[in-house]
């Protein structure tokens, strides 16, 4: 049994990062993720790690680049507007093939948007986290516990792939306090930093280095390698929860906070006899294509995309799998106005009951 604590999602992320081996954080304040840097500012020094509040988002992400190049498990966190500023650095991390954890606790947008929670960064997270056509694995936990489990394992993926990992969670989940069970501290041995890291190469005679700059044929080769990596993710790393889908006539697709509110609605509608199910992408990239593609469309009458943003951003990814075999509906709240149980229940019921009429 791990250690149980009542924590905010943001604090849980910070503690799980430390236990997962993170020893360097650099960031710049922004609501609604401030508990992450605040927590790490005292927690990292306790374990011999380093916390830096940078002078800007751009400097912070580049400090992460430096720490990661030395083989240190490093992370940064922000919310949408700050992630936009870090975009250049995240792209450089991907170019230099450096592992890192980036956390986006999202809020309303576009622009400065609202400091209140929203799921408005799906497209940024999954399609273009920066320039140059790279991807990161994107995890979307829907509870403080799942955030702990995800962040704890984040560097295993990041170091395996030598690529940054993104955890995308909205400000609601970041600020909700829930009970979590914390895993044990992973042992961090600096001498056992990844083989490619500069700390391992100090004093050795070697030609290689860590760089985001390549000649044309090498860059093309690296692009192709990245393409193969993304394909491998689709084969091996898709995470998805399917709930009451087997006999469902209507399937809700929702991630993060929207999936919890949607599941409550599904349970209530099932009690009323409606055959409704839920598909919850846990990895947004790789997207759980098969779960949606392989549904039996002779039975499924509609897919309902529920997101805490307007218009729905996951819809294109869903439609590419539905292939016009049934209608795709969407429901959302936006701008910092939260989804709620009754609203989602009524919206789904309207669609389901309307379809039966």
């Amino acid at each position: 049994m791990g250690e149980k604590r009542f924590m905010k999602g943001n604090e849980a992320i910070a503690e799980a990062a430390v236990r997962g081996g993170c020893r360097f954080f650099a960031g710049y304040p922004i609501t609604p993720q401030n508990e992450i840097p605040e927590y790490l500012s005292w927690r990292l020094p306790e374990v011999g790690g380093v916390y830096v509040q940078g002078e800007s988002e751009i400097s912070s992400v580049n400090m992460v680049y430096g720490a990661s190049a030395m083989g240190t498990r490093a992370m940064t966190s922000s919310s949408g507007p700050g992630i936009s500023l870090k975009a250049e650095g995240i792209s450089y991390l991907a170019a230099a093939m450096l592992p890192a954890l980036v956390v986006n606790i999202s809020r309303g947008g576009p622009g400065l948007g609202s400091i209140q929670p929203a799921q408005s960064d799906y497209l940024q997270a999954t399609k273009a986290l920066g320039h140059g056509g790279f991807h990161c694995m994107v995890f979307a936990p829907n509870s403080a516990q799942e955030a702990v489990d995800t962040v704890y394992e984040a560097w295993e993926y990041a170091e395996r792939d030598r690529n940054p990992v993104l955890v995308l969670m909205d400000g609601c989940l970041g600020n909700i306090m829930e009970e979590v069970e914390l895993p044990p501290m992973k042992e961090v041995i600096p001498e056992e930093a990844p083989e490619w890291s500069l700390s391992r190469r100090n004093g050795r005679d070697y030609q290689g280095n860590i760089t985001p700059i390549y000649t044309e044929p090498i860059l093309e080769g690296l692009n192709a390698m990245a393409g193969e990596m993304y394909k491998a993710w689709e084969e091996d790393d898709v995470k998805v929860e399917e709930f009451m889908v087997d006999d469902a006539e209507y399937v809700v697709v929702a991630y993060g906070i929207a999936s919890r509110v949607s599941k409550e609605a599904v349970l209530k509608l099932r009690e009323e006899g409606y055959k409704v199910g839920l598909i919850r992408p846990i990895t947004l990239f790789p997207f759980p294509k098969k779960s949606i593609h392989d549904l039996d469309y002779s039975r499924v009458k509609g897919i309902i995309d529920v997101e805490m943003t307007i218009p729905a951003q996951m819809r294109d990814d869903i439609e590419l799998q539905v292939l016009e075999r049934c209608p795709v509906y969407e429901y959302g709240r936006s701008g910092g106005c939260l989804l709620d149980d009754d609203g989602v229940y009524e919206a789904i019921k309207d669609i389901v009951a309307g379809g039966e009429a």
């Binding site: 009542f6 609501t31 400091i115 209140q116 609601c172 600020n175 909700i176 306090m177 829930e178 009970e179 906070i257 919890r260 509110v261 599941k263 409550e264 349970l267 939260l338 989804l339 709620d340 149980d341 009754d342 609203g343």
Partner: protein
């Protein structure tokens, strides 16, 4: 049984603290709880709201639209949230700041001048704990003993008088709450 609580008022009235204490106590009793704070960019004086859900089983959604128990600390919060309490629910109002009629006849209204009682006890800051006491006295959602344990933990780094004052506030709240006990 699933129960939801919305605490509302303005920043500085102990809204968040009351919510966390209630949720923490529920967890200490082996129940499940979620606590969601909502506030604006102001450090003080802005509107403050938090939602607590307590359940025997895992909590699926932490975002109810309607709550079983609404706790309002001032008139602004009352006007904004009066329709958000379910019929048959509890509306607990701080009568020191809410003078007008509470226009809901389908809920159990408990009005108590908690700011004045807090001043009588000796510290205006314990008004929120009096409200928690009333809630416990009326609904028995969590046990008094476990809540006192939570308070002990919360104030372990403060002078002993702080804990004493809070327990006094809790007891005076429970006394009021018991007069409104829900059977």
């Amino acid at each position: 049984m699933k129960q939801s609580f919305v605490f509302t008022g303005s920043g500085g009235q102990g809204i968040m603290s009351a919510g966390i204490t209630l949720a923490h106590t529920a967890i200490d009793m082996g129940k499940h709880a979620t606590y969601l704070p909502e506030y604006g960019p102001e450090q003080r004086g802005g509107s403050a709201k938090c939602t607590v859900v307590i359940n025997d089983d895992t909590i699926v959604s932490p975002l109810p639209r309607m709550c079983d128990n609404l706790i309002v600390m001032n008139e602004v919060a009352l006007a904004k949230f009066i329709d958000d309490v379910k019929p048959g629910g509890v509306l607990l109002a701080n009568a020191s700041r809410i003078k007008g009629e509470i226009e809901r006849d389908d809920v159990r209204v408990i009005a108590a001048p908690v700011d004045d009682i807090a001043l009588e006890i000796g510290d205006p800051r314990v008004a929120n704990i009096i409200l928690l006491g009333i809630l416990i006295g009326a609904t028995e959602i969590v046990s008094k003993e476990t809540l006192i344990e939570s308070l002990k933990d919360k104030f372990k780094d403060k002078k002993p008088q702080v804990l004493e004052m809070n327990i006094k506030a809790l007891n005076s709240g429970i006394e009021i709450g018991e007069q409104h006990k829900i059977n």
